[in-house]
Amino acid sequence: MPSEAIRTRHAGWTQGAEGFLNLLWSLASRDVKVRYKQSALGVLWAVLVPTAMMGVFTFIFARAGETLAAAGSAPYPLYAFVGLVAWTYFASALNGCVQSLTSNRTLVTKVYCPREAFPLSAVAASFVDFAVGCVVLAALIAWFDGSGGWTFAPGWRLTALPALVLVQTTLTCGIGLALAAANLFWRDVRQAFSVAIQLGMFVSSVVVPLPAEGTAALIVRTVNPMVTLMDGYRACLLGGAFPGPGRLAAVVLTAAGALVVGGWAFRRSSHRFAECV
């Protein structure tokens, strides 16, 4: 096939960054609206789901006598809720990404717009739930402040919080782009993903901390960027040791790398989307 002859010169979608952001916003708000349409509780679900999960894990681990060991100084429900809000954002965003192209089949096959908008808008839609979760988290922190010998005193560390969220979002976008494209060619991705994300929860110190010592824990801590992010969030909000600069640099590089590789893979395969979806 004479590949040098293949060319598509186009100025079809010439709306620049502003148009792309508008598209992203429109698709994300569609997803959010549709998710809560015809549901009696509506956006309350964004509050209820992590709160209920927190309740469940508090119940389980309080009985197991691990509460203190897990939480350090902070109350366990807070420890679990921070982890759950951040993890839910990660997991639901990726889940949306995986299905973003197949669920927008008519748009992919019948209309042209920048295809990156589909997975990225799935991330944006999950971010809305994440924001709601953060409001609940703030209320919980206020509630637990001063009780059980724990006080909320983040100081300068709170400023690191937006940076951590940005790093997590970047990481999610990178992985999400790659998964979205991969799922189009191999539908196995969706099945494998749902297993992986379940397992991932237990190696990312979402509700249970990783053991402080041991080779396995060390390996997980090194290769799983979510562990560093979780430790970071907790250091910001609940106190405790901040991850060292080496680990922070590693997670930033991982996130940036994921975005570059994921974006590249997505862009490279995007011309075949309409044929495979």
Binding site: G12, W13, G19, K37
Partner: protein
């Protein structure tokens, strides 16, 4: 507005039959074979060319029609223009802002209201919220869905849905508008407004590409047309040339399918309609008639039980249950005595006198003695009528124009008498209803 240009340079697009992807094991086997024997050993047997070496161009302010039978590659061409697909060979150039209407309302979500969908679809087509807001009222009134704009579109009728979809895309102010067979939805009034809107965009310098099966739609909008047949351009030129080429293509297709089973019809009263054929002036079978040439309709009957006084009725329709022309042999005083065996009954017309388009013929058979309709063919035989350069509308009537300048004394008198413009018309030979011979 910028110049909108669409240009295809020897564009080819290949698809694979069956599954788009091979199973992993199959791929492994092919890879091994390729490594051992080189690339040539692995013939891509399942692949076919949906388009092959297609070149054409649509410039600003010009509407290009793409016609062709089903599966000729029309939609593939449109998707290549819209950047949805990428060519395997050749080059596709599109400049300017593009709006593609490949499926109306493709970006709509059923659970969202009309209003929300207008903003969403606008964003998908590349409009900012401000632009959509500025055009919102135009979009809604063009679609005629004002009363339902806050209703979820899943409750819309299909016509409303399609109208809203077209309306949004038509208000993007595209430099290039691609339209695929969407005007078949909506009522006549809406189709007319669509055509008007397309002309408006053309006057504004947009390039337009219209894919259609309806030749009158193409004539209404396009100045040039391309005929695609099996992925290749078989004709490019004026819409008249293209329409003729398309109709020839259809005749060929029909001829290829001719030996099929009898055209249907039960033998209710011992008569079966074997075929309905059309013959042109020289007696050759055709499915494309000219409005001003003689035409013979030939009905072949299989008779199993004798009918002493058989009456035949032939109806030409544009759509179901609406006869444009009706010929009843009984009214012309003709009955046919049919003995068991095969019979051919012919209806000779001096001229058809209808304008270009697609028509359908059906046959009814009456037993003249019992005066009951015994057989009404459920099927209809299509007849294409070539477009006539002179006439548009329903009928193709011979006519001439006259003009005479009359010096007017004062305005009043001039108003009452008017300048005389003669219009002579007459259905030539008045032959429409006397065709029975």
């Amino acid at each position: 507005m910028n110049a909108g240009v669409v240009r295809f340079e020897e564009v080819s697009k290949r698809f694979r039959r069956g599954s788009a992807r091979r199973p992993l094991r199959d791929r492994a086997v092919r890879l091994l074979r390729r490594l051992r024997h080189g690339a040539d050993a692995v013939a891509d047997d399942g692949a076919f060319w949906a388009l092959k070496d297609v070149s054409f161009e649509s410039r600003r302010g010009e509407a290009l029609g793409i016609i062709g039978p089903n599966g000729a590659g029309k939609s593939t061409a449109l998707k290549l223009m819209a950047r949805i697909l990428r060519p395997d060979e050749g080059q596709v150039h599109v400049t300017g802002r593009l709006a593609a209407l490949i499926e109306v309302g493709a970006g709509f979500h059923g659970d969202l209201t009309g209003r929300e969908n207008v903003y969403l679809h606008g964003a998908i087509l590349g409009m900012s919220r401000r632009q959509v807001r500025a055009k919102f009222d135009d979009i809604v009134s063009f679609a005629g869905v004002e009363a339902f704009i806050d209703t979820p579109v899943k409750r819309y009728s299909s016509g409303m849905y399609a109208r809203l979809g077209f309306s949004v895309a038509a208000h993007v102010e595209p430099d290039v508008l691609l339209v695929d067979e969407v005007l078949s939805v909506g009522d006549a009034m809406f189709r007319l407004r669509c055509v008007e809107r397309m002309h408006e965009l053309l006057r504004g310098g947009a390039a337009l590409v219209l894919v259609t099966h309806h030749l009158d739609q193409m004539h209404a909008v396009c100045s040039r047309a391309v005929v695609l047949e099996q992925g290749r351009v078989s004709c490019a030129g004026t819409t008249e040339d293209a329409a003729a080429a398309y109709q020839r293509a259809m005749s060929r297709t029909k001829a290829a399918h001719a030996p099929d089973a009898p055209t249907g019809a039960s033998a209710v009263c011992g008569v079966e309609v074997r075929s309905v054929r059309f013959l042109d002036a020289s007696g050759r079978e055709t499915i494309c008639a000219s409005p001003r040439q003689p035409l013979t309709v030939e009905v072949t009957l299989n008779v199993s039980a004798a009918i002493p006084r058989c009456v035949l009725e032939l109806n030409m329709r544009r759509r179901v249950q609406e006869n444009l022309l009706s010929f009843n042999s009984g009214r012309s005083g003709r009955t046919f005595k049919l003995q068991p065996g095969r019979h051919v009954v012919a209806l000779n017309l001096d001229r058809l006198s209808v304008c270009g388009g697609e028509y359908f013929w059906n046959v009814r058979i009456w037993d003249g003695e019992r005066a009951t309709c015994e057989l009404d063919t459920a099927f209809s035989t299509p007849l294409l009528v070539a477009a006539d350069a002179v006439s548009t509308g329903q009928w193709c009537v011979d006519h001439a124009w006259g003009h005479e300048s009359v010096p007017t004394v004062d305005l009043e008198a001039g108003m009452t008498r008017g300048s005389q413009i003669e219009f002579q018309a007459g259905i030539a030979g008045s032959g429409l209803c006397r065709a029975e011979r």
